[in-house]
Symmetry: C2
């Protein structure tokens, strides 16, 4: 991070026409933005939402309320502008890019062994890195993939322990016997891959998916490219958690846009030490929560850059 | 409320390309918006932030960290575009109107008797009602007035009981002996006016201020004019609480944009049964939290109106 830019933000914040600290989290967001964009004042002219899509072999086990065909069908919906994230990007004046990762070839069923081979996982990560193009100044990361809250739960369970049930939730809306099936799949996945998961990246390969590996790659590339990141819900955060498990500072350039109603997300955020910007009961994925949070980050930057100082406005300071 | 418009929103929400309920609170916001705008689909083309400003006799007792001169000085800052709310309105593409209520003549010191006479209080309410002009489709209500968290605490204490200390907080940043002075002023205000406070509107007259009376008036007029309202922080919500105390349904057309770091606000929201849209540690007033929340309401309306249905997008439903 650029500590000089951060220090400039802290110094200017003190001069602006408001009681000290009165903009609350908007002030710390501005400091974070300055540090990770590496400039002062920070600004957001070209925010982008990136959605990675992948298919999961485990979906065949009935872990989702929706058929795996929906992943591909939603690509057409994104392209036609009909999904929630399209409307949210329009509202936030953000670009949207959707990247498909070989949807015709799902990952292997990870209850039987690794989801991905080494080369395939590395390729997905590299693909995600390439999505961080020049000129983006805030990146919201999301995903689409039927079955991927099962992968997220398996990753969280393997990385942070507890029981499978601690990390499994309804996802798109499973309940009753289907929820038990999902929990059993997570247990089986962690058991089947235990020996192979010798480090966090091997865990990603065994229990993740192409879109989750791409998100991990994008987070890494964003840090190198000085692009602050907003993470979306449970699946995106589980992908990010792989990096956190490897290095507890790896997500310092990331904030979490929204706390999902998927119960594992709140638990996961606590492990990562992340306080989400929004908490509105959403549980959709596709970058929706991260995109909505762009408004908060934009507002923070706008206040910091545009407000008058006490001296400029000739407003009296504390009595 | 227009229950037919609300029912149309509920019906359409079920058809959109997302798992049922996956947009969480955005879905209930859309239903609320349809019901109180009285149309389906609801939309937000002309949001407006209105800030009322007033001065308080009690400010002379040293209850604020800032001198009372700041209220007037901030009017120039608003006009020049230098305050936080100016930047927030620009970010949200919302109009901003600031109305001064006779700043040269503060209310009477309410530790000695009523803050306002009957005619002055009624005039301030009427002034607030007139600010709700034709064509506004979402109204964010805020205030500016050195000393007004003291008035807010006094109103909350009188309306909802407890102790003065339950409702008093740092406001612009008082602590130690000044905080004790503020708490004592609230206790004295409630004691001095006890006999006169025979109903909630008399309580407003005794313990409120011109800008708070104007907010109460604006909330009433907005309901009649089918304009949904976003309330700001502690002072604005305390003004709204007067209406709630008179009729527990009086704020059904209002949502609270943000939970202030001022501790009395969370307590007050619990009494009103209001769940704030945002919780970002802000404590600035001037409509800042309500204006920031415009982004959430806009996003909700945009998703509802713009998303494709499962049938339109040819996306499979639950398996």
């Amino acid at each position: 991070p650029d500590e000089a830019a951060r220090a400039k933000a802290v110094a200017r914040e003190r001069l602006l026409t408001k009681p000290a600290g009165a903009l609350g989290r908007l002030e710390t967001i501005t400091e974070w933005l300055a540090a990770w964009q590496g400039r002062h004042p920070p600004d957001i002219r070209r925010p982008r939402t990136v959605v990675f899509a992948g298919n999961h072999g485990v979906a065949a086990r009935g872990v989702s309320a929706y058929p795996a065909s929906v992943t591909q069908q939603m690509m057409a919906n994104f392209a036609a502008g009909g999904a929630a994230v399209n409307q949210l990007c329009t509202t936030m004046d953000a670009d949207l890019r959707v990247y498909e990762l070989d949807l015709e070839h799902p990952t292997a069923d990870f209850t039987q062994g690794p989801a991905m081979g080494e080369e395939a996982c590395a390729r997905a990560m590299a693909y995600g890195m390439m999505a961080v193009e020049q000129g983006i100044d805030l990146l919201a990361l999301g995903e689409m993939g039927i079955g991927n809250t099962t992968a997220a739960a398996a990753l969280a369970h393997a990385l942070f322990g507890g029981t499978a049930a601690d990390w499994v939730g309804p996802g798109t809306g499973v309940a009753g016997p289907a929820l038990a099936t999902k929990t059993a799949a997570v247990e089986a996945a962690v058991a089947a891959n235990r020996a192979a998961m010798t480090d966090p990246f091997e865990t990603l390969r065994c229990l993740g998916g192409y879109e989750l590996a791409a998100i991990a790659g994008a987070i890494l590339a964003a840090r190198l490219g000085r692009v602050p990141v907003l993470l979306d819900g449970y699946a995106a955060t589980a992908a990010a958690a792989v990096l956190f498990a490897a290095d507890a500072r790896a997500l310092d350039h990331c904030l979490v846009g929204h706390c999902s109603a998927e119960p594992g997300h709140r638990r996961l955020l606590a492990r990562l030490g992340q306080e989400p910007l929004l908490d509105l009961g959403m549980r959709l994925g596709e970058g929706s929560g991260a995109t909505l949070a762009i408004a908060i980050v934009k507002a923070a930057a706008a206040c910091h850059a545009g407000m008058a100082t006490f001296a400029e406005a000739r407003v009296d300071g504390p009595a």
